[in-house]
Symmetry: C2
Subunit: 164 residues, 2 copies
């Protein structure tokens, strides 16, 4: 495993376990077992590390979605499950513009394909459904709903709206 890959692993662990503020070049270096300045011999800068994390997350989320059973309900379940299991990475993937020109060709389309298929190729409907799932997940991850809120029921209502 190259130092660059080790750095990527370390960055992801810091992000997922301790949050975005913990993902600093100093701490990544610590985890790799070198000093921060040495990190720059293997990774150009922090932005590159983040870019690779986003690409990795998109790849994994796409795989989870392609592996889901047919229908919007199963797709929603898989989306939510992956997002909850990788909340910090999910946020990193969705809170800023996607640097599409620096991402592997077809990566975004590959992740979007299952949903697009589920809505018979209707792009507007696909965007609305994606955004709805994203909104529910983002608010859930942010702890923004009241304590007793029945989120399973909210997800079911969302699926029903788009399926019905």
């Amino acid at each position: 495993m190259s130092r660059a890959d080790e750095a990527l692993r370390a960055a992801r662990e810091l992000l997922e376990q301790d949050g975005p503020d913990a993902m600093t070049m100093r701490r990544v270096a610590d985890r790799v077992g070198i000093r921060a300045p040495s990190l720059y011999k293997h990774v150009p800068d922090k932005a590159e590390l983040e870019l690779r994390l986003v690409a990795e997350g998109l790849q994994e989320l796409g795989r989870a979605l392609r592996g889901a059973g047919p229908g919007l309900a199963e797709l929603a379940r898989a989306y939510r499950a992956w997002g909850l299991a990788h909340g910090r990475l999910y946020s990193l993937m969705t809170e800023r513009p996607l640097p599409r020109e620096r991402l592997p060709e077809g990566l975004e389309a590959s992740a979007a394909a299952p949903l697009l298929e589920a809505v018979d190729g209707d792009t507007d409907r696909a965007r609305a459904a994606w955004a709805s799932a994203h909104g529910l997940l983002a608010l859930e991850l942010a702890g923004r709903f009241p304590a007793g809120a029945d989120l399973d029921a909210a997800w079911a209502a969302m699926v029903a709206a788009f399926a019905g």
Copy 2:
């Protein structure tokens, strides 16, 4: 206008015009015309400033929603318009848990009322619809959709899903 109110205005201007990283106690103080340490004679800490901004935003958003025409389409239009006009504040309001116990009584319910009424008191459906609007708005604010995406159409598809 008290110094505390001046600080609130300054914080909001910095947030809305230059983004969350620009909203520092030093810059707020600069704008008020005093030194940063003096700010602490008027405001306990930065968290309090942010809390008041969230309360102010919730109040304004609620007013915008209550002023909207009847129906989900008009509600969605008002929600999106307010969010786009106050993107940074909107993000601050939605990206972390609401400190409900420190907010004016009834503020959240008052903002939620128009939507709850539009879905005939169905809480699950209201949460799903709110989250959908939030997701669309959040992704739009984040610049997360591809350049040519027809977001008006996506909003229409979302409204149709919940109305139909």
